[in-house]
């Protein structure tokens, strides 16, 4: 047909390789096996979901309508959550600069940066909530262990990000400043720092957002904030009050999220 219509110059269509290669089949089989094993292990199934429906419905009924009774008690936990996030972000960001520069392979010495990296890996190795759990044991209940937990994790992540930003610094300007006879301090201040600053601010803002989210749940292990109030409400079955706390959490997280976006658009 094609030849009759004068399309002889068209190259023959290449043979399509089969979609069902042995390799892909193997991957699919392994995936299905792991998947069904997981479904069995976690007890997640449509049946369980349907059986759970009345319970979910009952919980929903308990939660709505939200009760405003005792809402004045929410102010302190609300501000506590906000301030835990702010404080942890400030402390984390302050520590991230020296540690980040000391942990960068291009400006630091292996004797310094290998140990620093190891410590940072441990810091961000476990979640904030687990750090909070440990700090609650060490320093007692309240917002203090929450701040410490967020700080440890934030230092771990932010320092690593700063170190990566420093390693990505263009060496040209540094060298140019060095050839003018500037001291290492000035090389840092006018060569490296301006290149790292925008990234640094982006990370700091991102971690403010992140820390606020985390601060809302730290209370579940006794580390202060809205989470602690929420845990209390749920453990005494006052779900209508819990809903009010949850709504407040959503408002706080959304507000900080928007504010961070706004600040970022201003900076960059």
């Amino acid at each position: 047909m094609a030849a009759e219509q004068g399309n002889t110059d068209r190259p023959p269509t290449p043979e399509m390789p089969s979609r069902f290669t042995a390799n892909r089949m193997l991957i699919a089989v392994v995936f299905i096996a792991v998947y069904s094993w997981s479904v069995e292990g976690t007890g997640l199934s449509i049946v369980a979901l349907i059986e759970g429906l009345p319970d979910f419905w009952q919980l929903g009924q308990h939660m709505f309508p939200p009760s405003l009774e005792g809402y004045e008690e929410l102010w302190v936990p609300f501000l506590e959550t906000l301030f835990i996030g702010i404080l942890a972000t400030i402390i984390g960001s302050v520590f991230a600069i020296p540690i980040g520069f000391l942990g960068a392979a291009n400006l630091s010495h292996p004797v310094i940066y290998y140990p620093i990296r190891l410590v940072l890996t441990v810091f961000r190795g476990v979640s904030e909530v687990i750090w909070a759990l440990l700090f609650v044991v060490a320093v007692g209940l309240g917002p203090m262990p929450g701040v410490l937990a967020l700080c440890i994790f934030a230092v771990g992540v932010q320092s690593k990000l700063v170190a990566e930003a420093v390693e990505a610094v263009d060496p040209g300007p540094l060298e140019a400043i060095r050839t003018t006879g500037a001291s290492p301090w000035k090389v840092f201040l006018y060569g490296a720092w301006p290149q790292v600053l925008p990234l640094y601010l982006t990370y700091a803002l991102y971690y403010w957002d992140h820390n606020t989210r985390q601060a809302t749940i730290l209370g579940f292990v006794g580390a202060g904030g809205l989470g602690q109030k929420l845990l209390w409400d749920i453990s005494v079955y006052e779900f209508e009050k819990a809903t009010t706390s949850i709504v407040l959490m959503i408002v706080l997280i959304t507000a900080i999220d928007r504010f961070c976006l706004y600040l970022r658009s201003k900076i960059i």
Partner: protein, 269 residues
């Protein structure tokens, strides 16, 4: 004449520099003031940390050396954690993809429905997975089932956002070109949108696999199964050397998943 303009220029540059410095000074003052107030409000003080040091030291002494005799009983919870993370990452794909398609503004005209879906996704992801877990545990009881559901709910919200943002970032030319050939919406989706966003989706899924594994390790703190439950029990029983073994196990599996995920990412992208 020439000198005068140069002087003026230098003058204005100096002024600009002073203004920038003043701005920075102002911002730093505000941050310091807010930070100081925050420290006061949360009762955060360093002296207390220093005077409490013997207590922390005591805790550390009780944590080391780790008690490795409990390793055999950790396998079950660890596997549970991995299973929850796997399901909590893969099942949301089936919800997030259609929801993202419903709400991406560049391919859908229906903004009412789109905005409702967006709000829904926003609420899903704003509530942390630990809170979802706590609510679901109080509804259906302890176990991995509420934990997995919690991961699914939170991940659907987060993935949905990444997914619709990926669709919205598509070059409009691709869609226009396809529509010009007379392709219907389904064909535009299958052959225009999906191939374009697939690499991003895959990297988002891998990201959430890591994220959910990390989250699954803490779900046990509210009774939703996994290694966190073992950790909480150890701490509540004051068996801190056992708790450290749990922590080591957590760090190990997180590192392994991180490596696998990085390897897969380098493969698919």
């Amino acid at each position: 004449m020439n000198n005068a303009t140069l002087d003026a220029e230098i003058d204005s540059l100096i002024k600009l520099r002073q203004r920038v410095l003043l701005n920075w000074l102002f911002i730093l003052t505000v941050i310091l003031a807010v930070g100081g107030y925050a420290a006061w409000f949360t009762g955060f003080d360093i002296p207390e940390l220093v005077t409490g040091w013997p207590h922390i030291w005591n805790l550390l002494k009780r944590m080391f050396p780790p008690d490795f005799s409990i390793v055999p009983i950790l396998y079950g919870p660890l596997i549970e954690t991995l299973q929850m993370a796997l399901l909590g990452t893969t099942i949301p794909i089936f919800f997030a993809v259609p929801l993202a398609w419903l709400t991406a503004v560049n391919i859908r005209e229906d903004h009412v429905l789109g905005n409702i879906v967006r709000l829904f996704l926003h609420v899903l992801r704003t509530i942390p997975e630990l809170l979802w877990a706590m609510l679901l545990v109080s509804a259906v009881g302890l176990g991995t089932f509420p934990g997995t559901l919690a991961l699914i709910l939170h991940t659907t919200g987060s993935m949905g956002k990444f997914f619709y943002e990926a669709i919205e970032a598509i070059d409009p030319g691709v869609i226009e070109a396809m529509e010009a050939t007379g392709a219907n919406q389904f064909k535009v989706l299958m052959f225009g949108i999906i191939p374009t966003v697939l690499p991003i989706y895959m990297s988002v899924v891998l990201l959430y696999w890591e994220f959910n594994t990390r989250a699954a390790t803490i779900l046990g703190l509210v009774g939703a199964g996994g290694i966190g439950l073992t950790l909480t029990h150890a701490i509540q029983a004051f068996e801190y050397d056992e708790a450290v073994t749990c922590l080591i196990a957590i760090v190990l599996i997180l590192t392994v998943i991180d490596r696998i995920s990085n390897y897969l990412r380098s493969k698919v992208i």
